[in-house]
């Protein structure tokens, strides 16, 4: 990559992660699966890097390993001068405030027994930001910003539609004013009209709050619209990366070409 390193907000180098799987008819054997095989990525400040791949390519493992939600076998994740992979406990928690995640399934990722105010405000409580009054103010403000209202504070997740729940998930991640947000398939569970709303919301929040996104997705049409850079994953490796417009116009790898040619509606089946 030719970009100057000081422009990168997150740099991951040589990430490796192996899972052991039980194999054989009765599970006595073990089978090693390389989920991440020498993966390196660089996220430019204020930009969106899409990580695309099919199921099992390792893209979600990469998301979790970047945030240290899962331990790496080896490799380093540089953020604000620290290697996150070497931090633990309090030091790691302090950095996590600046690294947030938005999940795919807005039905599974919100605690059904918590009110919206507590779901969105939980991070403020954990990181001891402000007094209760200030916390409530912050929560109300971010809810309004994502298109909900202060009237929703005391509601429970089941009272919302899928798109509204994803807005709650976004508010929960952004209330801490993070620098990097990892979005793991944030619109794949949503109808296409809701998907468009959420994508536009993510884009305007990015500009307003100077956010950098890592956007995990299998949908190459969505990626074309939201991302600046792209990394294509296949079997735990990054097979191609570059600017979205360039990779889409002239993919270097057969795998990428095949992926792009499979986008529905792009070319007729007869071709």
């Amino acid at each position: 990559m030719s970009m100057a390193p000081d422009k990168h907000i997150l740099l991951a180098r040589g990430l490796n992660k192996t899972y052991s799987q039980r194999s054989g008819r009765f599970g006595f054997g073990t089978n090693k699966v390389k989920a991440l095989d020498d993966v390196s990525i660089a996220l430019r400040a204020g930009s969106t890097l899409a990580v695309v791949g099919e199921s099992g390519s390792g893209k979600s493992t990469l998301a979790r390993c970047l945030l240290q939600l899962q331990p790496l076998d080896s490799g380093e994740v540089m953020f604000q001068g620290n290697n996150l992979a070497s931090l633990s406990g309090h030091a790691l928690r302090q950095e996590r405030r600046h690294l947030q995640m938005i999940f795919q399934d807005p039905f599974a990722s919100l605690n059904p027994r918590m009110k919206v105010r507590d779901i969105v405000g939980e991070g403020l409580l954990i990181h001891e930001i402000g007094n209760p009054r200030e916390q409530l103010e912050k929560v109300s403000r971010i809810l309004e910003r994502v298109g909900l209202s202060a009237g929703d504070l005391n509601k429970y997740p089941h009272e919302f539609s899928g798109g509204q729940r994803q807005r709650i998930g976004i508010a929960r991640a952004l209330v801490l004013e993070p620098k990097v947000v990892v979005c793991d398939e944030p619109v794949s569970a949503l109808d296409v009209s809701i998907q468009a709303q959420i994508l536009l919301l993510l884009k305007s929040l990015q500009q307003e709050m100077a956010l950098s996104y890592i956007f995990i997705s299998h949908d190459l049409r969505v990626v074309r619209h939201i991302a600046d850079d792209i990394a294509v994953m296949h079997k735990g490796r990054i097979v191609e990366q570059g600017k979205v417009a360039e990779v889409y116009a002239a993919p270097n790898q057969d795998y990428t070409r095949n992926l792009l040619n499979s986008i529905p509606g792009r070319k007729s089946l007869a071709a």
Binding site: E54, D191, L199
Partner: protein, 278 residues
């Protein structure tokens, strides 16, 4: 061109709330050797319409009105016994999730053979040969007949489902989001396979999807549904290139294009209702 299926004025509502219509006065037709796509968002009634054709609506729902004319006969009022004779034989079905639609403790060969025994009385070596040829047609090595569903990949399972559904050479195939759970490269293969089988066997295909990209790839005709109603229908080129209804236009504007040339526009529901931009 022979008309295979005609749905007229189909209306479906919950038994407990008969005034709350889930499918409202839906009418459209399907020809042999052609694909009609029903496209819509969740809650549009597209799957209910397909289930009604097969007589598979849940007990909590009722068909309030409408006829379902299949090969010239109105099958809307048929009971289960009558429907069982045509389901799987003249009407094949494929669903979204191949894993939940297959029985995990039976080999895929057995499951493909079931309907052949049931409807055509095939047994023994003849049955085995027919199963092998079906597997070959859907691109799976015939020796996989002895595999269990969990030994196959998602794409292979969907191929097995397709082999099951075309086993008796049905006149019509109903496919409800058959590629939604699959990876994009596998989806492209399955769509191609379905399209080829449709042409070769001169089946009429009723294809339910939420994805306009898939519609562009596979449909001859399109039916756009919104909140239980058909808002627009017609030949695929006409509907996709010159949509007439504001909802169709708005929905097409939400679909990101692979070239990134078109700005995304979310649906303005206020405008849809009143014709005036909010």
């Amino acid at each position: 061109m022979t008309e295979l299926l005609r749905i007229e004025n189909l209306t479906i509502a919950p038994v407990s709330a008969p005034e709350q219509l889930l499918v409202k006065h839906v009418s459209f037709a399907l020809e042999s050797g052609k694909t009609t796509c029903i496209v819509g968002e969740s809650g549009s009634g597209k799957s209910l319409t397909a289930l009604a054709v097969m007589g598979l609506l849940s007990d909590q729902l009722q068909r309030q009105s409408g006829s379902i004319i299949f090969q010239g006969k109105d099958i809307a009022g048929w009971n289960n016994q009558q429907l069982r004779k045509i389901r799987g034989k003249q009407i094949g079905m494929i669903f979204q999730e191949p894993m939940t639609s297959l029985n995990p403790v039976l080999t895929v060969g057995y499951q493909i053979g079931e309907s052949l025994t049931e409807h055509l009385g095939l047994k023994g070596a003849v049955l085995k040969a027919k199963v092998a040829s079906l597997l070959q047609q859907v691109g799976i090595p015939p020796e996989r007949a002895n595999s269990y569903p969990d030994e196959l990949s998602g794409g292979q399972r969907q191929r097995v489902m397709i082999a099951m559904s075309i086993a008796c050479e049905p006149a019509m195939l109903i496919a409800d989001e058959p590629t939604t759970a699959l990876d994009v490269t596998v989806q492209a293969q399955i769509l191609k396979l379905l399209d080829e089988l449709k042409s070769r066997m001169q089946m009429g295909m009723l294809f339910i999807t939420h994805d306009f990209g898939v519609v562009a790839d596979i449909a001859d005709n399109v039916v756009v549904m919104f909140r239980g109603e058909v808002v627009e229908s017609g030949p695929v080129n006409q509907v996709l290139s010159h949509p007439q209804h504001p909802y169709t236009k708005a929905l097409l504007d939400c679909v990101p294009d692979a070239e990134g040339l078109k700005p995304l526009k979310p649906i303005d529901y206020a405008w849809l209702k009143t014709g005036v931009a909010a």
